[in-house]
Amino acid sequence: MSAAGRIASDLTKHGLKPFDAHECSQLNELKIDMSGLNMLAAWGASGDIIMMEQMPIFGGYTGDVEETTICDIATMIASFIIFDCDIHLDGPIHIRWGTTTTRETLKIAAHAAMALDMNTDFLLANQYYSLAGPCTEMCLLETAAQAITDTASGRELLSGVASSKGVIQDKTTGMEARMMGEAALATCGMEVSHVNVVLDKILGMYEKNYNRVPQGKRFQDCYNVKEVTPTDEYIDVYDGALKTLSNCGIDL
């Protein structure tokens, strides 16, 4: 979006208020454009809450997991020190799959969060892009795996879920956010060594499906749109995911 579009979001009595999250994106990697600087100048002068966003690419310019994590940490420090944000929205993403829920991208997110958690008071968020679509167990397991990772590695805010990689129209629903929240609640306070065992099991459940991803359903096909309630089918899928997660060692 342009700076004009973003800044217009504060206009009128229905617009964003200072207590809403004003989101500005950096570019990959360690880059920004004038549009970003102009948004930040306007929001900073208005006293708005600023959420700086960037999704480091695993397999991109920085290559492997360790290099991408180092760059991710530098990116997050820059958000606070150079761009004066209030909270940073991360989102390590896999160059091949376009998702944040792979083993490698979870590892990057967790290592970066822990390194900063132990050495700063930064408020850190992470965003969710799953491979599978709504109303599938895989989508819910991907979401749970990332929520467990983010919660156990000290993140302050979880933001999602852009199911179906966030690119297919209408393929996102509130049920995925319910899973994100419930998985986070169940993880709070767990021993990290146990969390790692659980994560390994959950990842093993969905990694094998990368080449035959369940596409899932659109919002209007898995919700009663008028009543805004999930269909019985989606409730059954959700209950199935809860059972699978329990077998992996975490009860939601």
Binding site: H14, I70, A115, T172, M175, G181, N196
Partner: protein, 201 residues
């Protein structure tokens, strides 16, 4: 040594404007990857099989590698084609000044976001929404309502209205402005319908 002043957006722009010129492809394919590899080697960074690290020494070395990466590399402005740098003093003074807590939303729907410190028993803030995914105009409000009505969801992240009054919201046109304002109005309506008008969006 104490930094003279904290960096703000105006100081950042001035440093970009006066910074070293470099081509963007050099930055992407040489400066960033070479420095990341150097930091990996310098700080002896190697991950094991665990998703979440349990070695505090590795976490400290990773932090220092990230600090060194930013100090050594700087930051690039794609429109100006220039690089700005910060000093070690500015970085460490800035770390102390970063916000430690935040209030999101208002009224009974407001949420306090505070540093959690490891796997605290306090749950993180749950921001629910399509996260920028495209959404049809006809179902935008009920879709956002599906997030706002979930008790576990604290704040909303919007999706992108695919059209506004049937028009595509092309960037940097009046339709983008209209789509942005329409999108926010619709998100507010969804929070109102969920009896949570003060949610942070």
């Amino acid at each position: 040594m104490t930094a003279k002043r904290y960096i703000d957006i105006y100081e950042a722009y001035d440093r970009f404007y006066e910074g070293e010129r470099i081509r963007e492809d050099q930055w992407d394919y040489s400066v960033v990857p070479v420095n990341a590899s150097l930091m990996k080697e310098k700080y002896d960074i190697s991950f094991g099989k665990d998703i979440i690290p349990t070695d505090p020494d590795l976490c400290d070395r990773l932090f220092l590698a990230g600090v060194d990466m930013l100090l050594t590399t700087g930051f690039y402005n794609t429109d100006l084609g220039r690089v700005m740098h910060i000093t070690e003093e500015e970085l460490f003074e800035g770390l102390k000044m970063a916000p430690k807590k935040l209030t999101l939303g208002e009224g009974k729907d407001k949420r306090k976001c505070k540093a959690r410190r490891g796997n605290s028993r306090r749950k993180p803030i749950i921001q629910g929404g399509p996260t920028g995914a495209p959404v049809s105009e006809s179902i935008f409000v009920p879709m956002i309502q599906s997030y706002a009505q979930e008790p576990v969801v604290d704040t909303i992240v919007s999706g992108v209205l695919n059209t506004v009054n049937g028009h595509h919201a092309t960037t940097n046109t009046p339709w983008e402005i209209r789509a942005t304002m329409s999108e926010i109005r619709n998100v507010r309506e969804a929070t109102l319908l969920s009896q949570r008008p003060g949610m942070c969006i």
